[in-house]
């Protein structure tokens, strides 16, 4: 059987490619459609009206609209990892092999168990959940919520990784036009012909807006021909960028717009190397919102049966997609617009059951029956519309047989994006609708139906004029078109209806709104939250107005007095993938590799993320099965002979200028002015509130040249802070800063044989003997026959140690050279774990101790803070609260029993007495197994710790449920006199 034969509701004409036949599946059943179809138009063509179940009552539903405002026809598109829940069938383009499933139903869309909710609807009205699941409180999380979530919810995730790529991009333009209907096209022509950089974006895959759906003349020709010709002219302009399938989803500060381009959503899968979607950030000088209008439904009893849809949507299906939703159709309208649908359907040979017009004076027709002053008071049909019950002008009842009903209650200007900067729409009594009002996003103007100009000529004209006014240029000539504005009256709902649906996506009825009011939810914001009206993924594009109108009527107020809620970004839902872009997994942030990273990888290093860096944590060798074996070996080998550690990641900031020393004096709490050239000094930076910020070293390479190092984690913030001090506090000082962290590869060479090893590579004219190059010396030198390098004699491990820096591109070669030359000393590379063990053994503070709560006094460096100068943080470091008698002091702890564990984060209590916060004596910041001591050791802050050496205390950790006895010791477990580092 050919596709055409099964497409029982397909008409002649339309903008579909009848030469193509696309096979697709819906709920497991195969169908065919054509290129140019949406999933909804193809299903309707195949006689399928039922596309899903509603969210709360599981009522059968079909499409209400033919666009992105759709509340009902929400499906899960595609299978497997690409499955995408909550896709609107009305905007999903048909492609060969498309698969879709209906949602909110089990076991099938035709027989849904949860439809029992519908029969129980008396109990499920507004506020039901709030009232029912209040008690007992503990039941909410464990019982009620999981059940509700399973029963409700909109679709389900595949729970698999999205296989597609998403991208982000940036675009700039003089004029961004949102919507390519008649006003948008004329705005683009006007600005484009004047040479402006224009972006014309439309969510649809074809440009033209309503012109694609209307059977009318523009410029003396068919609207579609005029559109095609106009788009062709715009395409030929190099300064105009046409973006189809692109939803401008938000208006942000300062002329920035977010837009999602669905690059590959209309394909079975993205082409190789192409993203699924692109999130554009558009910087627009001016913006014109030409988003048109959205037709509003009328509420009446059982107005949600599949087959009942907006009259304008029906016109789109008939004219654009050549599809009728049924063979026999009725229209229910409160304005002239509904009659146009009847005329268009009739012209295509569809049988019109009747046009039911609420007004007593209506346009009449020779071709079909028009019932003036009549209303639809109920509908019937299982799983779809079969009959409508009409109350005629004289009060008599009549039943009409029809498979579809087009409903028209007038049009609402699409003001969504005008609200994104908190602009509040204004009531227009003539249109009985809200129009853009309040403060619009800067640079935005509104044209066409979106501004309330509801005629075709009005839209064309206001588009051209808007662009002309924005730039002071000549407007493009406006073609002739119908200029009778649609008359619309305020007719929101049929008197006496109860289960008449306002918000079909969240299942909110007229009765719910009345109930909310009765229960005291009288503000429009409260109404919205209590009933969930307008809070579904469609943001109530087709439902908010009806709710407001009913609220106003009950309250005896006018609609403008009740007020309106405003819309927020995004205009339509945006996938998380588009927002994430390429920032997924390891690409969430940049990964920084040191110059010798690949050497370390060859050595089998285990890496750890430190900031954005990958640092070698340890280097396991054959036979080692536990990280502690590797770390202990690295520590022992370094302390016995020599080890090399990559410390490139430490921040390195070059400070130059005549006032460089004065500057550092301001920056560090300890003095720097008198540091000799060729010397390095440890420096502690305080925050202005007296808390320690960071530590490091500063080496003076020349009178006016220092090299400052920072911790790895604080390299960025410290540089920023230094620029702050320079620019904001000392703007006239002669000092310049540059971060050179990436410019130099730097290695710590530590251990008793470190000098011997370095002597093999340092060029012979540089004497690095202890006499010529003592502890805390620094110099510019050359290595390996002329390669420039910097040498610092500093030690973090407590051993005799050097740090040697070479230009980054030589880092890998230097590391290999050190390993090769060090073979005779059994050199080992060591990682951050061994580094950590050795610094804890030596009692050096690091990030765990400089933790944002500690002062120089706590760190045992109180005397370093110079009182003779005004440096950052000195004033507030003297606050009484930071200098109490029993202030925390940095000390060491070790267990009384060798095998006991020291737990970082554990708290210290006196040897006996209660264990509680009131008796807390301090806490352990760092812990490690010390090969030197032969047990675990820790660094700790203890009240008056420096005066409690030898005291026995209890280390308790309720988190790990441990309590061990420890002894307070000096923080310097290794070589407390410092003889080794000076050797």
């Amino acid at each position: 059987m050919s596709g055409q034969m099964t497409q029982v509701n397909r008409l002649d004409g339309g903008q579909i490619d009848r030469g193509s036949s696309l096979k697709f599946k819906f709920d497991g059943k195969s169908f065919t459609g054509h290129a140019g179809d949406t999933l909804a138009s193809a299903l309707l063509a195949n006689g399928v009206r039922l596309m899903g179940r509603s969210f709360k009552y599981h009522r059968p539903r079909g499409p209400l609209s033919a666009g992105s405002e759709e509340p009902n026809a929400i499906v899960t598109l595609r299978d497997g990892a690409r499955a995408e829940p909550n896709t609107r069938a009305t905007t999903a383009e048909l492609f060969e092999g498309l698969t879709a499933r209906s949602q909110n139903c089990w076991p099938s869309v035709k027989f849904d168990v949860m439809a029992v909710n519908d029969a129980a609807s008396d109990f499920l009205a507004a506020g039901f959940y709030y009232k029912t699941f209040m008690w007992p409180a503990s039941f909410w999380e464990k019982v009620y919520e999981p059940i509700i979530r399973r029963a409700a919810g909109l679709g389900a995730l595949s729970m698999q990784e999205d296989p597609d790529q998403y991208d982000k991009g940036f675009r700039h333009c003089d004029l961004l036009i949102i919507g390519a209907g008649p006003s948008g096209l004329m705005a683009a022509l006007t600005a484009g012909r004047a040479g402006k950089d224009v972006i014309l974006a439309d969510e649809d895959f074809a440009l033209g807006g309503r012109l694609l759906s209307e059977n009318m003349a523009v410029g003396g020709k068919a609207a579609l021909d005029w559109t095609t010709q106009t788009v062709a002219e715009l395409s030929s302009m190099p300064n105009v960028r046409l973006m189809t399938r692109t939803t401008v989803m938000g208006a942000f500060d300062h002329g920035i717009y977010g837009a999602v381009e669905r690059v590959s959503d209309h394909l079975f899968e993205p082409a190789a190397g192409k993203p699924r979607q692109i999130l554009w950030r558009i910087y627009a000088g001016k913006t014109m919102l030409c988003a048109g209008a959205i037709e509003r439904p009328i509420a009446f009893e059982n107005n949600d049966r599949p087959g009942i849809m907006l009259a304008s949507a029906m016109r789109s299906y008939v004219n654009r997609w050549a599809v009728t939703p049924a063979q026999r159709v009725a229209i229910f309208t409160s304005c002239d617009d509904g009659h146009r649908t009847a005329a268009d359907l009739h012209a295509k040979g569809v049988k019109i059951a009747a046009v039911i017009d609420t007004r007593s004076e209506t346009p009449m027709s020779m071709d079909y029956e028009v019932l003036a002053g009549a209303q639809v008071i109920n509908t019937k049909g299982r799983l779809g519309l079969a009959f409508v019950e009409v109350q005629q002008a004289d009060g008599s009842m009549r039943t009409l047989e029809c498979g579809a009903l087009g409903v028209s209650g007038g049009w609402n200007p699409n003001v969504h994006l005008t609200c994104h900067q908190r602009g509040r729409p204004a009531w227009n009594a003539e249109l009985s609708a809200f129009v853009p009002g309040g403060t619009l996003p800067p640079g935005m103007s509104v044209a066409g139906a979106a501004s309330g100009d509801l005629s075709t000529y009005g839209a064309l004209h206001s588009g051209a004029k808007g662009a002309a006014d924005a730039f002071g240029i000549k407007a493009a000539d406006v073609p002739t078109a119908a200029d009778t504005p649609a008359k619309q009256s305020a007719f929101w709902y049929v008197e006496g209806c109860k289960r008449a649906w306002l918000d079909q996506q969240n299942d909110v009825t007229v009765k719910d709104v009345k109930l909310a009011h009765q229960e005291g939810f009288k503000s429009v914001e409260h109404l919205k939250r209590y009933t969930t009206l307008g809070m579904a993924t469609d943001q109530g594009k087709t439902s908010n107005m009806g709710g407001l109108a009913i609220m106003a009527e009950i309250a005896g107020k006018g609609i403008p007095d009740v007020g309106t809620t405003i819309f927020r970004p995004p205009y339509t839902p945006v996938s998380i993938g588009a927002l994430a872009g390429r920032m997924r997994g390891m690409e969430f942030h940049p990964t920084r590799l040191t110059p010798s990273h690949f050497w370390a990888k060859e050595r089998g290093a285990v890496f750890v993320e430190v900031g954005n860096w990958l640092r070698a944590q340890w280097f396991p060798i054959e036979g080692e099965t536990h990280w502690r074996q590797s770390v202990d070996r690295e520590v022992k080998a370094t302390r016995a002979s020599v080890g090399v550690c990559d410390c490139t990641t430490l921040g390195k900031i070059d400070v130059q200028g005549a006032d460089a020393a004065t500057f550092l004096n301001k920056l560090y709490c300890n003095p720097f002015a008198k540091l000799a050239v060729g010397k390095v000094r440890y420096g502690l930076m305080l925050r202005e509130d007296g808390i320690a910020m960071d530590d490091g070293t500063a080496g003076r390479l020349a009178e006016d040249h220092f090299v400052v190092t920072t911790t790895t984690a604080k390299a960025g913030p410290v540089y920023q802070h230094m620029e702050f001090v320079r620019q904001c506090l000392m703007p006239d000082a002669d000092v310049q800063l540059i971060s050179t962290t990436e410019a130099w590869a730097q290695y710590a060479v530590a251990g008793p044989n470190s000098r011997k090893l370095l002597q093999k590579i340092v060029d012979p004219e540089f004497d690095i003997s202890n006499e010529a190059f003592e502890f805390m010396a620094c110099a510019n030198i050359t290595v390996c026959g002329g390669l420039r390098a910097r040498l610092f004699r500093i030690s973090f491990s407590g051993e005799m140690a050097f740090e040697i820096a070479v230009p980054s591109r030589y880092g890998d070669a230097l590391m290999r050279k050190l390993m090769e030359e060090g073979e005779e000393f059994d050199v080992v590379p060591y990682g951050t774990e061994a580094l950590g063990v050795m610094r804890i053994e030596k009692g050096h503070a690091a990030g765990n101790e400089l933790n944002g709560t500690t002062t120089a006094n706590n760190l045992g460096m109180g005397r370093m803070v110079s009182k003779k100068k005004d440096s950052i943080g000195t004033v507030l470091s003297e606050r009484a609260g930071l200098n109490e008698e029993d202030a925390l002091k940095l000390v060491g702890v070790k267990p009384l029993a060798r095998e006991d564990k020291i737990t970082a984060g554990g708290h210290l209590m006196a040897a006996d007495g209660p264990v509680d916060a009131a008796h807390d004596q301090g806490y352990v910041t760092s812990a490690a197994y010390s090969p030197e001591v032969g047990s675990m050791i820790g660094l700790a802050f203890i009240k008056s710790g420096d005066a409690r050496m030898g005291e026995k205390m209890r280390l308790v950790s309720p988190v790990t449920d441990s309590e061990v006895e420890v002894e307070v010791t000096s923080a310097h477990f290794v070589d407390p006199e410092g003889g080794r580092q000076r050797a």
Partner: protein
């Protein structure tokens, strides 16, 4: 959000680092007293309206900038190099 860096021109917000009230430029003398230091380090206004704060063009020229803006309308009223502002204060 866009900010005009006095050196680089109008740039996207994400190139900048925000630090807070421009009062940070008015560092008191060491002997200004507790109240002055409290105001400098801790006490901040939270105005609905015009505010002056410090930003750094972190991913650009590294200039510190005093931005005068309206916290209600998000309008950027003025941007100036912090160094120039500081010089003018003395």
């Amino acid at each position: 959000m866009r900010l005009k860096c006095p050196v680089c021109g109008e740039r996207d917000r994400r190139e900048f680092y925000y630090v807070g009230d421009a009062v940070a430029l008015a560092r008191p003398d060491p002997d200004a007293g507790e109240a002055a230091w409290d105001d400098y380090v801790h006490n901040r206004d939270n105005p609905a309206g015009v505010t002056r704060d410090l930003w750094q063009h972190e991913a650009g020229c590294a200039a510190w900038i005093v931005v005068t803006r309206n916290t209600v309308s998000h309008e950027i009223l003025e941007t100036a190099l912090a160094a120039d502002v500081k010089r003018a204060m003395s």
